[in-house]
């Protein structure tokens, strides 16, 4: 089933190229919908205590010990749901007037993302990882906005490819140049028993490859230009799903495979995360363009996950609170929460830009009066993003901070400044965009249509659901 789920969008991409172009959007929607429906079915049958489930393992290249191995467990269940849902929403958010190449590329990107989230063997995990990257490059370059898009696409591509190369080399060393298995589960088992003891450089290389994708300062330079230049649906995917691929990689690779190195360098990782948290929040304060501002605020939010991963490394068994559990659960929920809210915000931003034809913060004012529904949606998502209780982000941030505080109180205390700064950033956005007198000229903006509200409805529902009853979502990864 997972294979079907993964390749449905790829098949859709193929069909799009074969069928007449006015079918493109519909075919892409069907492809993504198939994936979403399968994911929902799988999750409804998912047994949180069952460990790895729905696994498919086929020998692929026996001489290299490469199997095709996919499966669902606690770490990827939620994030797969996020990826399938957001892919469908992103395709739905794309106007049908776009050429079919666009839909083929975005479907291909979805395939890459689903594959990367379900793969359990480094070999094809890496293939999918790169498969997600290449369409994104073309989507930004060909269908992006602004003169800067070529440069942004190139910088995005270079950064991520360099990271991938580092990771690939690291993994080749880790697996002894192909003599050992590439299987994540087997590697994790060997790491647990102490048989796997890669060197510090291997750890650094794999970590760097993942952190580029997350991204963590100072590897984040590609992010703001790429988010600003990408078409709005692609920006939704970039921030909602692609950045989660890096975090998911931390969960899947760093924590299980490098426990010793993580323990040794957890503090460094936390300091870097802290730096990124403050960096993102404070740089966001100075942005004049809405997309770039949201990109930096995104940088800040995802860095909380890295903070938690560092805390997992520093955890000492037998504390008052179970730090590794708390922190990993926090990371998983934060991925889910941030993916939803950030994607929603980017979608709304795209709508605002498209309607107004402008993107600067100073170009707007008093939108509450002109577009009350848009304002309401934006407010809810913005408050979810700044960690308001009873919305998705809060539980995740509480778990992350709870875990991190237990091992590094001072650092975590400083990191809470990031929460304050995020509040300042987002409230400034709300103030600039939605309050104040409506400008006489160009102030009126059409409100959300029913279709657009419908598209956002699942996002809002999940944001509320995950906020009110996070326990329900955390149950997937409870064991």
């Amino acid at each position: 089933m997972i294979t079907v789920l993964t390749f449905a969008p790829a098949l859709a991409a193929l069909l799009i190229l074969l069928l007449p172009s006015h079918w493109a959007r519909r075919v892409a929607v069907v492809g993504a919908m198939v994936s979403l429906v399968i994911t929902c079915c799988l999750l409804s049958q998912f047994d949180p205590r069952g460990g790895l489930q729905f696994a498919e393992k086929v020998a692929w290249m026996p001489s290299l010990k490469v199997d095709y191995h996919v499966g669902l467990d606690g770490a990827n269940a939620l994030v797969l749901l996020l990826a399938t849902l957001l892919s469908l929403l992103a395709i739905l958010a794309s106007p049908g007037s776009l050429p079919r190449g666009y839909f083929a590329l975005i479907s291909l990107q979805a395939c890459g993302m689903f594959g990367a989230f379900t793969a359990l063997n480094f070999f094809h995990w890496f293939l999918f990882w790169e498969l997600a990257l290449v369409p994104a490059f073309f989507l930004i370059k060909l269908f992006g906005q602004g003169e800067d898009r070529h440069r942004a696409a190139l910088s995005f591509f270079l950064f991520t490819v360099l990271g991938s190369v580092a990771m690939l080399l690291g993994f080749l060393f880790l697996s002894g140049g192909g003599r050992e298995s590439f299987d994540f589960i087997e590697l994790a088992a060997r790491a647990r028993s102490g048989a796997l003891d890669p060197g510090g450089w291997v750890f650094a290389a794999v970590l760097a490859g993942l952190l580029v994708k997350v991204p963590l300062a100072p590897l984040h330079l590609w992010q703001a230009p790429a988010y600003a230049a990408a078409p709005a649906p692609v920006a939704m995917l970039l921030t909602g799903v692609m950045s989660k691929m890096g975090v998911y990689g931390l969960l899947r690779l760093i924590i299980p495979l490098f426990p010793r190195q993580l323990a040794a360098h957890g503090e460094t990782l936390m300091v870097l995360a802290l730096l990124t948290i403050l960096w993102g929040a404070f740089v966001a304060l100075r942005q004049t363009q809405l997309r770039r501002l949201l990109a930096f605020s995104s940088l800040n939010h995802v860095a909380y996950c890295v903070l938690a991963v560092g805390a997992v490394g520093l955890a000492i068994p037998g504390g008052v609170v179970d730090v590794p559990r708390l922190a990993t659960q926090g990371v998983i929920l934060q991925m889910f929460a941030h993916g939803l809210t950030a994607a929603g915000l980017f979608y709304l931003t795209g709508l605002i830009e498209q309607r107004a034809g402008r993107s600067g913060l100073a170009d707007f004012g008093g939108l509450s009066a002109a577009a009350p529904r848009l304002a309401a949606m934006f407010y809810i998502l913005a408050f979810a993003s700044l960690g308001l209780p009873f919305l998705a982000g809060f539980a995740a941030e509480f778990l992350i901070f709870g875990g991190a505080f237990a091992v590094a109180p001072t650092l975590t205390a400083v990191a809470t400044i990031g929460l304050l700064a995020t509040a300042v950033v987002l409230l400034t956005v709300l103030q600039r965009l939605f309050t104040g007198p409506t400008p006489a000229q160009g102030g009126s903006l059409p409100d959300l249509t029913g279709e657009e509200v419908l598209l956002l409805a699942p996002v809002l529902a999940l944001v509320l659901w995950a906020g009110l009853a996070p326990g329900h979502w955390l149950a997937f990864s409870a064991h």
Binding site: F282, P389, L420
Partner: protein, 634 residues
């Protein structure tokens, strides 16, 4: 009383908020909101009656989340403190809701207003009833959100939007303290429940050390930061006067009864931690300083609501003194209750006055209101007397309790409080003279407000005058106060500062030409002691400095990346031009080919096609061969 019934108290207004979110009809929304809150109020009264007679109870509701060995269970606590707070919040809130139907009747977004009000009430009730520090924090944040929305309700006014943002951010600064306190408590004890049959946060000693400080001390300090932010204690009080930008019922709801009381309530709720941590003197002194500073600033203000706002800050300071100086939370809470009624009365009265004066808020442009608005005036004066602590009004009893406690605990602080009480009497008299006496100085003739606005005023006035005397003793006893003797100096001081301050105000302002500059409104007081400027110069600078630093770093890294890119490009160019182009292409590949080509060309010259030429070579070769053979043979 079951858990679900108790949970209905905050849930009913929440439901009302959800229902009214999509409504457009203001009257229907008001009916829904008022109905829900009225039911909450009845339930709260029932809960109060249970708590009054029975023991404190904990009602577990549901697991919010459970991770590993950590379970966060949301539970409610019903004891005298929470039941009293819940009843007060619902009752005062109900009156404010009713008042709002009149005040906001002509606003097109009236329905949305009631949605926010209900959300606020829900958050406040959740906060009050919570037995879990995390649930308390979450409700606390909801209250913050609602106050942000309410203060910025008239979002088309940039000042209102800015005030809402300021309120949210300044209180969130305090909230960070609360969050950190919560995290310390959580990581030290593994639980966030306040009472859990002996295993709760307040029932066991968190003892162990972090950062070399006792955990209880640290937690209570951090919680106090949160409380100070919410309750407008110096230096985090700056948001509160700006919050006057909201509609008047909002000011009443936020300032009088509820939101600002949340901080005081938090200290009272977690009183055992403060006691164990030894942080009470800090609480008391912060309160004392706040009381004095706010009372001073109130003297220099001319906006009727701003005066009341600073008076609120000052009274909140007194509540903190009452908490910090006593051995239980009862005295501070007692002042909180009486204050809630008379300050709600004053704010609603001020709203009624400015409504009658065509939304004029400057007291210099009022005057002669007493004749035009008799009901409002009478009610307002009742509230003013209670605020001044005129003997035998409710304010007198509660303030007296505070003074008694502080007299026994800390003498200098007692003098500080007495002096700020004197100032309170002075500025209240000043305000009343400006507003009610003499002839009207404004452009439009004032008119009395409709009954829907005056009836709540009258009800509140009754409470403002009578509550202290009627329920004071029982209330304090229920909250756990130990009856203390009233030393004569305290009683004398109470009387002296109240009556003396009023007398002084009367002497200064009565018969004066109120159009002339005010003798007491000194520039530093008018400028609010430059707190805003101070913040702009310090925290604001620091903040923008940090921002600039972050941007600088960002640019530096970007420049570095640019440099790397340039370097890569230069290296690439070097390789493409020099190595590839010159060495490999020109020298190695093309060069070799050319050499062969040239060699071939050279060889071609022999093949001239001239047969005798070939023959010559043959002959030459033969001769040379012959010579070679000859040389070989000899």
């Amino acid at each position: 009383m079951s858990a679900s019934t108790l949970a209905l108290i905050p849930c009913l207004p929440l439901l009302a908020a959800l229902c009214t979110a999509g409504m457009r009809n203001g009257r229907r929304a008001a009916a829904v909101a008022i109905g829900a809150l009225a039911m909450s109020a009845l339930l709260a009264l029932w809960a109060l009656s249970q708590a009054w007679t029975g023991d404190a109870q904990v009602f577990p509701l549901a697991d919010w989340l459970s991770v590993g060995g950590t379970r966060i269970t949301f539970s409610l606590r019903l004891d005298a403190l929470s039941a009293l707070m819940a009843s007060m919040v619902t009752f005062v809130g109900l009156l404010i809701f009713i008042f709002s139907t009149g005040y906001m009747a002509h606003d097109p977004r009236c329905a949305r207003f009631f949605c926010y009000l209900s959300l606020f009430a829900a958050g406040m009730l959740g906060l009050v009833l919570s037995n879990n520090l995390l649930l308390l924090f979450m409700s606390w944040e909801i209250v913050g959100l609602a106050s942000y929305l309410l203060i910025g309700f008239w979002f088309h006014k940039p000042s209102a939007a800015a005030a809402g943002k300021k309120a949210f951010i300044v209180t969130r600064l305090g909230d960070l303290g609360l969050l950190l306190g919560l995290l310390v408590a959580f990581t030290q004890t593994g639980t966030l429940e306040l009472y859990a049959g002996g295993a709760g946060l307040l029932e066991k000693d968190p003892g162990t050390l972090v950062w070399g400080v006792g955990a209880a001390k640290l937690v209570s300090l951090l919680l106090f930061v949160g409380a100070a932010g919410k309750s407008g204690q110096v230096p985090l009080h700056v948001w509160l006067p700006d919050a006057m930008e909201g509609p008047t019922p909002v000011s009443a709801l936020i300032h009088a009864a509820t939101m600002v009381a949340a901080g005081v309530f938090l200290v009272a709720r977690t009183f055992p931690l403060f006691e164990a941590g030894g942080t009470l003197p800090l609480v008391a002194w912060t309160g004392g300083v706040t009381a004095l500073i706010a009372a001073l600033i109130a003297l220099g203000q001319f906006d009727i609501k701003r005066i009341l706002a600073y008076s609120t800050v000052s009274q909140l300071g007194l509540m903190m003194v009452g908490l910090g100086a006593a051995t239980t939370g009862a005295i501070g809470m007692y002042h909180l209750f009486t204050h809630a009624y008379f300050k709600a009365l004053l704010f609603l009265g001020a709203g009624s006055i400015s409504h009658g004066c065509h939304h004029e808020q400057d007291i210099r442009k009022m005057g002669g209101i007493a004749r035009a608005m008799p009901v409002t005036t009478a009610a307002y004066l009742c509230g003013a007397l209670a605020l001044v602590a005129f003997p035998y009004t409710s304010g007198y009893f509660s303030k007296d309790a505070v003074l008694v406690a502080v007299y026994g605990a800390d003498r200098p602080l007692f003098y500080l409080c007495a002096f700020s009480s004197l100032l309170t009497a002075l500025y209240v008299t000043r305000q009343c003279v400006y507003v009610f006496a003499g002839a009207h100085r404004g452009a439009h003739a004032p008119h009395e407000s409709p009954a829907v606005m005056t009836v709540p005023l009258v009800i509140l006035a009754v409470f403002a005058l009578g509550m202290g005397g009627l329920f004071g003793g029982a209330l304090q006893a229920k909250l756990g106060a130990i009856h203390a003797a009233h030393p004569f100096p305290v009683i004398a001081t109470s009387w002296a500062v109240a009556l003396g301050g009023m007398l002084l105000g009367w002497v200064i302002y009565s018969g004066r030409d109120l159009r002339a500059p005010d003798p007491l409104a000194l520039v530093p007081l008018q400028r609010k002691l430059w707190f805003d400027e101070l913040y702009a110069a310090t925290a604001g600078r620091l903040w923008s400095g940090l921002t600039a630093l972050a941007v600088l770093l960002q640019e530096m890294v970007a420049a570095l990346a640019e440099l790397v890119q340039e370097l890569a490009q230069a290296t690439g160019q070097f390789f493409s031009r020099s190595v590839d182009g010159r060495l490999i292409d020109q020298l190695a590949v093309d060069g070799l080919a050319r050499r062969f080509h040239e060699g071939g060309r050279a060889a071609v010259r022999f093949q001239s096609g001239f047969l005798p030429g070939y023959l010559r070579w043959v002959v030459l070769g033969t001769l040379l061969g012959g010579l070679f053979v000859h040389w070989l043979l000899t």
